[in-house]
Amino acid sequence: MSDEGAGPVVHAAVLREPAHRVSPQAVPFWRVSALIGDAVLVVAVVVAYVLIPDVPGWTLVLVLLVAAAAIAHVVLMPQIRYRVHRWEVTDTAVHTRSGWIGRETRIAPISRVQTVDSRQGALMRLFGLASITVTTASAAGPITVDCLDADTAREVVARLTAITAATEDDAT
């Protein structure tokens, strides 16, 4: 930084996207989990429509809308999400981007990282995926990298743990 951090940076600042994509396996994983969740919802709505007597006719439109939204969710969400989700771990910071309708970018300095967790659900294991969560001393600051390739996740956890073990601050 040339301006010693005092004033605002002169040029228009734009964050570049983090370097890496998540595992391609994430797409089918997201699709299957969306399918399961949406199927439950659609079945519940349809059952309610069939079982409740004397419903007015326009509720059928609602049922169809729910079904259409569910289909759109299952078809579109995984692809969009795969394009948006990115992550990067440098020697000094963790940087992620996530979301599919909205966008969320999170950055935390590695010197402030307190814990590094990895998580692998049953369905995730089926697709060979794992998620990493990095927490800082702030409840608002956890950074999750969803759906990494399980091997990559292990490497990243090992690297992060090594770096954080070297820091001796109490990270607040």
Binding site: A12, A13, R103, E104, R106, A137, A140, T172
Partner: protein, 499 residues
């Protein structure tokens, strides 16, 4: 098996013996309702059996009340404070002395009659606090001083040569007074509505009992209503309003006096130390090194009369936000805030406005909620067949109020980077200004909803371990947000910026 903690060689101390009076009285206080219920039951049942229960009901609280004194011990070693307690499950809490962040003393009226103090020792982040309930007041004070001195002792040596902060008298621990109660501040009491919530709660409880009263049935209600309606409606409303106002004046002023009696805020041993209270006295100590910022709140009504409140944002305190000033003149709040921050400006400098797009969103956010209510009202009208006139009028009033709220929330919006402090303005009706040391920022979150992306705005969150753990800069232009983050934490974002 059981160690003998009472043995003097180990340095274990008991709580004050006067606790033997304190706890049974408290226990009886808690048991009094069941006791009365039991007595009523006994008197009705006519059996001799009840007279066996009665002594038990009285003696049991006394016994149980004495248990904590018998089983709780504490000691101060060279490096730690240790507290051992429990009857069946032995519980030992330990805290390293150099991790002690805060020592708070509290005494209820009962404590004070007995000359006792409850001591709470805070350490680290979000940890459970060590509680000693209760010590003799002198012992508690000595313990507090010892704990804070010991924590401070190693820090004094290095801070001697490099003492750039002109305000803090580092070498000699002379207490500096930052603020003390000024009873002309009492004028702000009726304008601080926080206590209104308590009052509403109390009314709610009363209304519970109201249902059980024999006079309260539909017939009496109707006849009362008829009786009331004999008078002009306006007169009734007027009388009720005046009575309500009078009650509010009494409650708010009394509450203020009770809470802030002998309020004193001083700085000593590198800590902020607050004492106040008429019946229950509180003494709160926050280590200044752990204070990462301040938050000044000017609620709508208080702003009309030029009042404000001030809190510190600290790490390692129970909920992070500690109110350090009663409702007081804005100048006093600013002055104390600046002396805590050791910087002039962050609390008074103008903020960077977020522009017309942010104003549109502020309006929209408030109007959307109002429209939902209006729609619900309209649906109800259609359903129940009430006159449209009322709904129209109510809806109009609501929308106007929402528009006003939207404009006011936009005017409170803003941000600034004042030296090494991040400043964020927020609040819908209240004007809130949050100041956070950039050293206390431990990460950034930039989030954009779909709507925000369309118009290039973003919410920027600085995450921190202090206070509410996040400082939000809402609806700021994305490029401005990134610039602000990059400037506030030099170096952190450099490698992620597009050149």
């Amino acid at each position: 098996m059981i160690p003998t903690p009472g043995s003097p060689g180990e340095g274990w101390l008991r709580l004050s013996p006067r606790k033997l009076l304190l706890d049974p009285v408290k226990a009886i206080g808690q048991a009094v309702v069941p006791l009365v219920v039991a007595l009523v039951g006994i008197s009705r049942s006519d059996s001799g059996f009840g007279w066996v229960i009665l002594p038990i009901a009285i003696v049991a609280p006394l016994l149980f009340g004495a248990l904590p004194w018998l089983t709780t011990h504490y000691r101060l070693t060279d490096t730690q404070i240790q507290v051992r307690s429990g009857v069946l499950n032995k519980n030992t809490s330990t805290a390293p002395l150099d991790r002690v962040r805060s020592v708070d003393l509290e005494a209820s009226l009962l404590h004070r009659v007995l000359g006792l103090q409850k001591v709470q020792v805070g350490t680290g982040v979000d940890d459970d606090r060590i509680t000693l309930d209760a010590l003799a007041a002198a012992d508690a004070d000595a313990l507090r001083t010892t704990l804070l001195r010991r924590r401070e002792a190693p820090a004094v040596v290095p801070s001697d040569p490099d003492a750039p902060e002109g305000v803090a008298p580092a070498p000699v621990a002379v207490p500096v007074e930052l603020a003390r109660i000024d009873w002309s501040w009492l004028r702000f009491a009726p304008f601080s509505l926080a206590r209104l919530v308590l009052l509403a709660g109390a009314l709610g409880v009363l209304s519970q009992f109201g249902d059980d009263l024999p006079i309260w049935n539909e017939e009496t209600a109707r006849s009362t209503w008829d009786w009331v309606m004999q008078f002009a409606l306006t007169a009734v409303v007027l009388v009720l309003a005046v009575a309500g106002l009078a009650v509010w004046l009494v409650v708010s002023v009394t509450g203020y006096v009770v809470q802030w009696w002998r309020f004193l805020l001083i700085r000593e041993h590198g800590s902020l130390h607050l004492t106040s209270g008429l019946f229950t006295t509180r003494s709160i100590t926050v280590e200044e090194a752990k204070v990462r910022g301040v938050e000044m709140t000017e609620p709508l009504l208080m702003r009309v009369v030029g009042g404000a409140e001030l809190s510190t944002l600290a790490t390692g305190v129970e909920d992070g936000v500690t109110q350090v000033l009663p409702p007081c003149p804005r100048d006093v709040a600013v002055g104390v805030g600046e002396s805590v921050l050791e910087h002039r400006g962050p609390l008074t400098d103008p903020l960077v406005a977020h522009g017309p797009l942010a104003r549109r969103r502020a309006w929209f956010r408030q109007l959307r909620d109002a429209l939902v209510v209006v729609a619900a009202g309209a649906a109800a009208t259609w359903w129940f067949g009430v006159t449209w006139w009322w709904v129209g009028l109510g809806g109009l009033a609501l929308l106007l109020a929402a528009a006003a709220a939207g404009e006011s929330s936009y005017r409170h919006l803003g941000h600034a980077l004042a030296g090494d402090h991040l400043v964020a303005g927020s609040g819908i009706l209240a004007r809130v200004r949050t100041v956070l040391e950039t050293d206390g920022i431990i990460g950034w979150v930039v989030s954009q909803s779909w709507w925000q992306r369309r118009i290039g705005l973003a919410d920027l969150v600085a995450t921190t371990a202090a206070g509410n753990e996040r400082v939000l800069v809402r609806d700021v232009r994305l490029t401005v947000a990134v610039e602000l983050a990059a400037a506030a934490t030099p170096g952190l974002l450099t490698e992620f910026l597009e050149v």
